[in-house]
Symmetry: C2
Subunit: 194 residues, 2 copies
């Protein structure tokens, strides 16, 4: 997606060897017009499947997932990282490791919102090692629903998550795949395949 790649080149900041900061339009400040375009793209890409739900994980997945769900005309469910009085006790759960936060956490989805008859499109902001996506796939499979695929805003193609998950037979569509990046000369190279 060219407008996304342009935005990454213009505003993305590389920290160390594997952190790409895009907090000016995706992770902290959000560009709603770009999210709308992203949602349109995902909805169109997966228009050959009769999707009934979009699933993401709080918090940075919510914006692109909401827009996708809007364009598909289906509900969005976001997996929760914390337990509150508002969450049902009867949940599907998976343990996910966060490399940016340096810890494991449990993500949960109420059993009310994923049913065996659902066909689920998973949306997330980043795909790197694939831990969050693994967790979401596990949750969908535990519910008996089908995984239609995964729509990823930015994939770090130099990390193993994307190829590992594609090998499992899951359709992954990433809008921008970073092949290599370097903090020293501020260089970001995208892969041609999306």
């Amino acid at each position: 997606m060219q407008s996304l790649k342009d935005k990454i080149l213009l505003e993305g900041t590389i920290v160390g060897t594997d952190i790409l900061k895009v907090d000016s339009f995706l992770n902290h400040q959000i560009d709603p017009q770009l999210m709308d375009a992203i949602g349109r793209d995902f909805a169109e890409t997966f228009s050959d499947v009769a999707i009934t739900k979009v699933l993401t994980i709080e918090s940075s997945g919510i914006a692109p997932a909401l827009s996708t769900a809007f364009h598909l005309g289906v509900p969005l469910v976001f997996a929760k990282k914390t337990v509150s009085k508002n969450l049902d006790t009867d949940t599907f759960a998976a343990t996910v490791h966060s490399f940016t936060k340096g810890k494991d956490y449990v993500v949960r989805v109420s059993k009310k919102y994923l049913r065996p008859e659902d066909t689920v499109l998973i949306i997330d902001d980043f795909l790197a090692k694939g831990c969050a996506l693994d967790g979401l796939v596990d949750i969908v499979e535990a519910s008996g629903a089908s995984v239609a695929g995964a729509g990823i805003v930015i994939e770090k193609g130099f990390q193993e998550g994307g190829s590992r998950i594609r090998k499992k037979g899951i359709r992954v569509h990433s809008l921008a795949i970073i092949q290599e990046m370097s903090e020293i000369d501020h260089r970001i190279v995208f892969s041609d395949e999306e």
Copy 2:
């Protein structure tokens, strides 16, 4: 907003004396078409002010805030509850007490995304005692920006936050104000004023 009130009456569940569960369309599963209508309403209500940013707090505020920001054509910033490698160290911070989670937490916004020249519309899913809204107002004021007002999806009018914050001179627009609710007979009464 009648469609929201209808949805609350149809799908909301009352737990105890002060919890209204709306996790089928707002807090866990999200209805994107309803969010779009909510965003349109907020954008129209505050169209007399030249808003430059929408501010909310992760996670349940993001969906209505994104839609509002989209209809206003301005960026959305969401305050973060956890520190990660992706968040700047130079932040505006406020301590907020969560009654649903039973603990205090610090919310942070990078100083890059709130500037003295900004006019900020705060959006949140719920207003009860007003702690989260207080924290967001403190953050905007610390940045030197102006608070245009607050758009709230559901206000618990029987708790003190709304009237306390309005008394401080902040314009609060709530789409549904619950005057009273009762678990025993599943009764929800809305206030006429919005």
